[in-house]
């Protein structure tokens, strides 16, 4: 009874705290500007299925893709076992699905055990890639400090989780052999799981009944405690991608990558300028939207999709390792753009909740987090967008920051001022006379 109550309290607290944090994140994302991604539902479901569920884009790099898939598959399948743990925990039963499912149960747990072992191997290799092999993209300067710690913590938690599963099943196997497991005796002498039926007797075979019962409980409680710890760690971590990959790919940009957004506010003004009958002193129409800042200076000037992108980023660095500016030593790193955006919107969200909506902390995304040097290094080549396994678009943030700098502050590299003046004066980015445009025709 005590354990049922304890389980219920832990579950409630675990889910409750998680829900509370998710609401905060939702609130933060909604601080962004609106953008319509409600069209093409069929195409969106397809994209989500292929890219998030099927991990299509991961497989352009096969080795990490396979390792990642092992962990992903184990994680997804283990959810079935988790349901049993929750039912057992709340009803005081032990392996409640076993009697009902019979042979399928044995198959299912056996499958989970094999995937868990693969996940364990993958996790160890991932730790080695980060900390021993020191893969460049996982060890760049924006990863110093918390991001590196975050990544290692996640991998460490996964190891603990898998160890709990094998302790639980292994100890239970020995208890079952001895006829004293809490699982219903189906008269088979063994629980028959693929790995723990060998591993259990090998590791725990010599232990006494009391120790085994304790170990089995440690495994069981350890497992569920880790699950709740993990769940509540997500909102603070890059690991949130395991959930956000799905909505983020659903709301992907479905247009050609080369197409930058059209700024409607500008269209209105340009049309006014080109219309000889327009009255430049006319008052704005009744109910017209309040003029917004051109481009983005702070995270709240970005769209909610940009902000969702930032929460979906798991800092894998594929974007940065394919960025032409970054590989030639420039300051720009698309991954850092995403990390900065998330950090900044978190900060703004906390300010709003603490001090109200209009609080100004005197900081901004552009300037305090992202420098001008970074955004001017971008060639808009779309390599980062192409590479991202969950369809994050760092380029649209970079362009919006440029728009702010150029249109609100007239700040840009001097050569670009010249280029823009040329376009405006003579219709070409270089200083050539428009009258000479067809001269090539008659040149030898």
């Amino acid at each position: 009874m005590v354990s049922i109550a304890a389980f219920a309290i832990i579950s409630l607290a675990g889910f409750g705290f998680f829900a509370w944090n998710m609401l905060k994140i939702r609130q933060n994302i909604r601080l962004g500007r609106d953008i319509d991604r409600s069209d093409n539902k069929g195409e969106r479901w397809k994209t989500m299925t292929l890219v998030a569920l099927g991990q299509k884009k991961m497989f352009t790099r096969p080795i990490p893709a396979l390792l990642h898939f092992a962990i992903y598959a184990a994680f997804v399948i283990t959810q079935i076992e988790l349901i049993e743990i929750v039912v057992d925990g709340l009803s005081g039963n032990h392996r409640v699905f076993r009697e009902a499912l019979g042979g399928f149960y044995t198959f299912m747990v056996s499958f989970i055990e094999i995937l868990s072992l693969l996940a364990l191997i993958a996790t160890v290799i991932f730790l080695a890639r980060r900390n021993l092999l020191k893969l460049p993209r996982l060890n760049m300067k924006e990863m110093n400090g918390w991001p590196k710690m975050d990544a290692n913590l996640i991998l460490f938690m996964e190891i603990v989780l898998v160890c709990c599963i094998f302790t639980m099943n292994g100890a239970d196997e020995v208890l079952y052999n001895r006829g004293i497991s809490h699982a219903a005796d189906l008269g088979e002498g063994s629980l028959g799981f693929s790995l723990s039926s060998y591993l259990g007797p090998f590791i725990f075979g010599d232990m006494n009944d009391g120790t085994l019962h304790t170990l089995e409980r440690i495994g069981w409680w350890g497992h569920i405690a880790m699950v709740f710890a993990f769940l509540n760690y997500l909102p603070y971590s890059k690991h949130l991608h395991i959930l956000f990959a799905f909505p983020n790919t659903y709301y992907s940009n479905l247009e050609a990558k080369g197409r930058l957004t059209n700024m409607e506010s500008v269209t209105t003004e340009v049309k006014l300028m080109m219309d000889p009958t327009a009255d430049p002193f006319a008052a704005p129409a009744e109910g017209a939207a309040e003029p917004q800042r051109f481009g983005a200076k702070d995270a709240t000037d970005l769209t909610w999709k940009n902000l969702l992108d930032s929460y979906s980023c798991t800092e894998c660095g594929r974007c940065t390792s394919s960025c032409p500016a970054n590989v030639t030593g420039k300051l720009l790193s698309p991954r850092k753009i995403m990390m900065d955006t998330r950090d900044r919107i978190e900060e703004i969200g906390n300010n709003v909740r603490k001090h109200g909506k209009d609080h100004d902390d005197g900081k901004s995304l552009l300037g305090d987090y992202i420098t001008q040097e970074e955004i001017w290094a971008c060639t808009s080549c779309n390599a980062c967008v192409q590479e991202c396994p969950v369809n994050i678009d760092p380029l649209s943030i970079i362009v919006d920051l440029r728009r702010y700098l150029v249109m609100e502050e007239s700040k840009m590299p001097t050569e670009l001022t010249g280029m823009l003046t040329n376009i405006e004066n003579n219709g070409a980015p270089w200083q050539f006379s428009p009258a000479d445009r067809l001269n090539w025709k008659d040149e030898a």
Binding site: T60, E255, A256, K257, G258, R259, L260, N262, M263, V266, T267, E269, V270, K271, M274, S322, P324, A325, V327, T328, G329, K330, L331, L332, E373, A377, T379, S380, C381, N382, A383, V385, Q386, V399, R402, R403, L405, V406, M407, M412, P413, E415, L416, G418, M419, L420, I423, E424, G427, A428, P429, W430, F432, P434, D436, R437, L438, W440, K441, E443
Partner: protein, 262 residues
Amino acid sequence: MSLHVPTMAEKMAAGESPEILFWVGCSGSFDDRAKKITKALVKILNECKVDFAVLGTEENCSGDPAKRAGNEFTFQMQAMMNIQVLDGYEVKKIVTACPHCFNTLKNEYPELGGNYEVIHHTQLIQELINQGKLALKGGGTFKGKKITFHDPCYLGRANDVYDAPRALIEKLDAEMVEMKRCKTKGLCCGAGGAQMFKEAEKGNKEINVERTEDALETKANVIATGCPFCNTMMTDGVKNFNKENEIEVLDVAELIANAADL
């Protein structure tokens, strides 16, 4: 052979409306190297008797570099002026040898009211060859040579056109070799996003040098491109390694014009 380059104004005066507009672009009009690409394409169009015209002095920058530099005002001013001209001539179909113009006209003009079918010159040339209008006599002077193709970002990743330029190179009597970073993984030449018009930010290498290394690794004799900016950047990259005599940078249109003896 003199080039036959009618303008839209001339066509209109004669009461004709050509099938396709050749959007030359600023590089193709003013840059000495890119003008050669323009002429190669015109030779192909003339050879195939394509009914085309150019805007000539009525053409204006598409606005691409302004938009990528963050100046949406300048971009939209250019776009709307161009749309007025294009619509005035009732243009339906446009071909261009510049992937930046291609992308902007195709993807960014419709929202401002300019709706045209826009194709890249490699797509048009592929079409002409497939229709039997253009014959490659003997494959030109490429026998035994290796050609690699550098994907322009605004043709490849931006618009998913990877096959047309490659299909053309494969028609030549030459060996096509891919760089380690190609197609969706192709590395930018360094000129996109208005970088063409400014110095690069501080780093440890120029992007075009990095990309030229990829090309040199293939031991190709020719770096083929489909973009005047890429052409400039790769040409400079080759010069950086003093390899001008060993490796040529040519547009796919130039390769085809050569192979067709034009």
